[in-house]
Amino acid sequence: MLDAILHSLELLLRLDTLLMMSLGLVLGILIGALPGFTTTMAMAVLLPISFFLSPVVGIPFLIGVYKGGIYGGSIPAILVGIPGTGASVATTYDGLPLTKKGQSRKALDMALAASAIGDFAASLVTVVLIGPIALVAMKFGPPELAAVMVLSMLIIAFSGTTMVIKSLMMLLLGMFFAMVGQDPIGALGRFTFGFFPIESGINLLPMLIGLFAIPEVLLSIEEKTKPFVEKSIRPEGDRLTLHELNDCKRTIARSTVLGGVIGMIPGVGQVVAALMAYAAAKTASPTPEKFGTGILEGVAAPEAANNAVNGPTMVPLLTLGIPGDNITAILLGAFVVQGLRPGPQLFAQQAPLIYAILFSMIIACGLLYVLGYLLIPLFSKVVMIRKAYLVPLTVVFAFVGTYVYRSNVFDLYFLIFFGMLGYGARKLSFDVTPLVMAFILTPVLEYSLGQSILLSQGNLFHYVVIERPLALVIILATPGLTYLMWYRTRKLRNPEPVNGAEPLPAKQ
């Protein structure tokens, strides 16, 4: 194996590989920063370039686009509160307040550092533990996934900053929105009233931009006398210091572990990792009430986690030849065109090449940090735009971003609807996080639950208890974990806990 590793470094350390990887990273960051352009789209568009390059150049190029894109989403999240991708929703919570405090540069630096560190550590562990991770990935079938979904939703609902009952209401509302359209198992229409445009359901992007960006715009119009950024001499603020980074090391470490573990489970992904890591950081903090007011830990937590997902998600692709999501499906295409078929065979025959690709993931993290560091001063200039221009520009970006995603005019109506909903929720102090979480996870839950029922051939209880020990463990741990999260964050919600505010028993 050592031989293969040494040989792989020889393959990889070439100027053209590093240059193409850098190009990929820059393109990824720029496209990821544009609302409406997802990392998946960026990769699909840039894929043909890799057809005409050698494997050790073309695939690192796409890996650069991938990693750059996931990081790039945090830029508009921090600067204007538009989450470019689902993965950067949690980044808006503290990122935008930091920008308003005149510390956008620090926030962007922290997002970059946390992304690069989380990604680096998780990729390194992936390279070392690729075999065991592949085994873990195989253990997570539909029943286990369903159990993880329930656990994630409950944790988000019970660790929120608003009353649990309010969070649960938002959770149910999110589940309802997720059910509009075709049901995932039988493909029958639900809540569509026979109206064709909503048959495909509600799209995530208009919901995210609507819930997060539009209320921000409306609120800043209300406070029209206040400048967007309080300080006016250097509105972007100073760079991040090593000391500040050091203060967040526990948060980054925790998020990296959480993101890495979530990345091993096929079908969960970056969005869940980021939101869960934010909740975990809040729960572990001695001062949870500061989260959401603009602290660096609140940026570090989701950013380290969403990038830590990247490494482990590659494992099922490389070891089994099975892409876990759309991004790895595109990478599979790139591999196949190069005449490489990922799977058990490839590992046996082309070990140096596979290691070269794995190492390129690690090198990409280093390059991401360098390139991001150089680009941040450019991005942070955005806050110097006068509010009179910045606010309308945000609106334009919100609408254009929503439309370009799939060129569906109906998405714009949803954008406005969710904008109003988000504004109302803000005014009535409802937290929309459980809504987003439930919206994203409900289809997965429904699908995996339906699959589990079919797999159990009618006797779900027996199937889970006898044949699915891992699912059983997760289900049994759910009430305890939920209680723990609720208990640790209780002082956030009320000065005095309301009588009888016991957590509801978790549903199985």
Binding site: L47, L320, I330, Q457
Partner: protein
């Protein structure tokens, strides 16, 4: 940020287009602007990959770039409906497959009529599905599998890529022809279904050649649901006594245009796609993707398409009958 990044994005896109597309410009007036090709499916799937290969070669034969527009949702109905509504001026095409094109009308109410609203430009190629089991499975042949399923109705689990999807229809067509009942478990795509097979959650799945080859000796192929053998030692469904399964089961990748497109424009498109199918780069890239380049002209496919309409009507009627 906005301007700079947008400019860079455009620059990259243009550079990519120039580098990949070749720039032979024809002097006729159609097409005089880029052509949009709607794919009613998501990014990263096999249609997306095929389209990326096509669009990197097509400009040399049509004289204009072809822009892929992904419009996924509602089992392909969203993108198809958008294409059906588009102006029939030859600047909007639809790249779809037979399970969306001809099958959807039998499972749900559509806001379009596939047979009246579209004409065929070309069938670019087809994908032959095969039935696979784990290498350690007790089923060594299709016959054993069918006999076991007959003796134990509903016990055998078939993991597929989603209802009325590309691996469900072939499998269901075979089960219907063999007259057996099984438990059908939908997965979100062929990849997860293969994972389900390898993890032992289901007993068999249906997959396409590239996926099967990459699994090496982990899986065993029992039958290929096509007219021609794909793997030397694996029989076709026809050879095993199911002559009618192949025509329903094979995934046909087709390019359609909204009906009412001027005749000369359709002719130009048909000619362009036919030339593309002979292009060396195109053939080489498809081969690497493990896709064949068995091109079929629009006229010829039109007949096959009407036949599919009938077969799917029967299949759906049979499968949804309780």
């Amino acid at each position: 940020m906005s301007q700079l990044s947008r400019r860079m994005f455009l620059a990259a896109a243009v550079a990519a287009g120039v580098a990949l597309g070749g720039t032979a410009v024809l002097a006729q007036n159609y097409p005089s602007k880029p052509i949009t090709m709607i794919i009613p499916l998501g990014a990263g799937g096999s249609h997306d990959l095929n389209a990326r290969v096509m669009t990197s070669v097509l400009p040399s034969y049509l004289g204009q770039p072809v822009v892929v527009q992904l419009m996924p949702g509602a089992s392909g109905r969203i993108g198809t409906a958008a294409a059906a509504k588009a102006k029939p001026d030859g600047y909007t095409l639809l790249f779809t497959h037979n399970f969306i094109d001809e099958l959807q009308q039998h499972v749900t109410k559509l806001p379009y009529n596939p047979n009246k609203d579209f004409v065929v430009v070309a069938r670019t190629n087809y994908a032959p599905p095969s039935l696979v089991v784990r290498a350690d499975s007790k089923f060594k042949t299709l016959k054993q599998l069918i006999e076991y399923a007959k003796a134990h109705p509903g016990k055998v689990k078939f993991g597929h890529s989603g209802n009325w999807g590309a691996t469900m229809v072939p499998g269901a067509a075979l089960l219907q022809a063999a007259g057996v009942k099984m438990t059908l478990v939908p997965y979100k795509g062929g990849g997860p279904a293969m994972r389900g097979l390898l993890a032992g959650d289901v007993d068999f799945t249906v997959a396409f050649p590239s996926v099967i080859t990459s699994q090496g000796d982990k899986v065993r192929t029992l039958v290929t649901l096509a007219d021609k053998r794909v793997f030397k030692d694996v029989p076709t469904s026809g050879e095993l006594g199911f002559p009618n399964v192949a025509s329903i089961a094979t995934m046909q990748r087709v390019v359609l245009a909204p009906a009412g497109i001027p005749k000369d424009r359709l002719a130009k498109l048909r000619e362009g796609f036919a030339k593309m199918s002979k292009d060396k780069t195109y053939m080489k890239l498809l081969q690497k993707l493990d896709e064949n380049d068995e091109f079929m002209s629009g006229d010829q496919y039109e007949k096959m398409r009407m036949q599919q309409d009938k077969s799917y009507a029967e299949l759906v009627k049979e499968l949804t009958k309780k």
